[in-house]
Amino acid sequence: MSRGAIDSSKPGSRLTAYLINHAQVFFSSLGKLYRNPFSNLMTIAVIGIALAFPVGLYVLLQNIQDVSGGWNGATQISLFTKLSISDQQSADLGDQLRQRNEIDSVLVLTRAEAMSEFKSLSGFGEALEVLKSNPLPSVLIIRPKPAFSSPDKVRHLVKQLQALPEADIVQLDLKWVERLYTMMEIGQRGIYVITILLALAVLLTIGNTIRLDIQGRRDEIIIIKLIGATNAFIRRPFLYTGFWYGLLGGIIALVMIQVSMGLLSDPVQRLAGLYDSGFELRSMKLNETLILLGFSMSLGLIGSWLAVGRHLHEIEPG
């Protein structure tokens, strides 16, 4: 070794060199995407759409759950008394039921009230005039306390009410809530499946884009290997490119979801207004947003890692 060999101004430590290179590649890989905007934007848009679809469905489902959550608390039981029970007796029954600790409120409709309500709501008003006597029993509308609103407990309560001597029919309108819940569960499973499939699609898209990039840079990789680049050095720009694809794809997905929500929120609010509900379409929470971006970044990194791992070793100078 001669004079040329030893050099005092060599790079500080391997760690500093490593960090400097990471910083350089972090920005230069972004710059590379910027310099070739059209094809990269297409890749990123594909990733964004693939991510926006399941995430958008998830947000919608969350909203449906918000709405139906309110209904569960409003479970109500209708107790129709026997026709032989007088108004006084049903009022007494109402008082008696109010004492029970699982019951929140009891509304007693006398036979006459039941009749008038039926007249006004059913549209059979005139036909009912013909009847000589009131065919309707009195009705007790019972709301259980929220703590006793779960389907099991409500069913237990219904059984007890059914056993009362005054009761003719006890009706619980729970079936449709249960059906809704089952449907939402199916929806949730469906979203999982769609998410897995589309995540796979994103992985393959990124992997394939990086693979083409590697093949396009074959000569460059050989040259850089010959002047002493490590595999890690060569790998790094590709991994960062994958990272950017994932992150930017995630951001595009986020934008698409927000725009869709914006478009939907007005009509939904109007619809909710028609139902006298203050319901507002809820968009993604901060933690959900972060999870989406983290997920898309990971997909980008994993996709490029797979491509790089498979294809970089094949390229050696010879």
């Binding site: 004079r3 040329g4 050099d7 060599k10 790079p11 350089q24 460059e220 002493g228 680049a229 595999n231």
Partner: protein
């Protein structure tokens, strides 16, 4: 700097590219490697630059046995060798400056240091004003100078050149050889594979001649 001891290289398929090759290149020495096409010049350079491994015998670079270098260490050893190619092998999507800076970026030099060294290297090859140009806008001779600047920018103790004047006219070839001599004068070992016997006979350096894989002469020119 380089020592080959009874080195054989046989490629898969049976072709013996190098047979029983012995030679030394001293620290700070400059030598030419010549012979017909297929005589084994490229194989010899590939063994030194760790692209190929010897089948039998030893190749030592700075007393490191090249047969025993692990894959992981190959890049670090290559940083001690500046390689110059006949076809320059520049990256055409980057400026002259970025091409020359590449070995320094790989080694992890700081930004200011890179700028200083790249300009120094370009100055030595006479291309200081062209750092912002793309390689394709330069003439063949200028591109080769960029290749040389890239090879010397991190001051390796050894320069290997494979037909560096292959595509150049005699006048430019002489200039390029002169450049190599300049680096040699400041202590860099230089080994140049070339066909250009006329040119190298005029220069006062040892000539190694390969014929069918054997080293048939390694005398100094008289």
């Amino acid at each position: 700097m380089i020592r080959f001891q009874n080195l054989f290289k046989r490629y898969p398929g049976g072709h013996e590219a190098l047979s029983d090759v012995c030679f030394d290149l001293d620290d700070g020495e400059m030598a030419f490697l010549t012979g017909h096409s297929g005589a084994g010049k490229s194989t010899l350079l590939k063994i030194i630059s760790l692209i190929e491994k010897p089948t039998r015998g030893q190749a030592l670079l700075n007393n490191v046995n090249l047969s025993r270098v692990s894959k992981r260490r190959v890049p670090y050893l290559r940083r001690n060798i500046g390689i110059i190619f006949q076809d320059h092998r520049l990256l055409n999507d980057r400026t002259v400056f970025d091409n020359v800076a590449l070995p320094l970026i790989i080694a992890g030099y700081r930004h200011q240091e890179i700028g200083r060294r790249v300009r120094a290297a370009l100055d030595k090859v006479g291309l200081l004003g062209k750092e912002k140009q793309a390689p394709v806008t330069l003439s063949g001779g200028e591109q080769q100078r960029v290749g040389i600047a890239r090879a010397v920018v991190n001051k390796p103790p050894l320069l290997l050149a494979d037909e560096p004047t292959g595509n150049l006219d005699p006048e430019l070839s002489r200039e390029i050889m002169q450049l190599f001599e300049n680096f040699n004068q400041v202590g860099v070992s230089v080994m140049i594979a070339t066909h250009d016997l006329e040119l190298i006979k005029q220069m006062n350096h040892r000539i190694l001649i390969l014929n069918k894989g054997r080293m048939i002469s390694q005398d100094a020119t008289s």
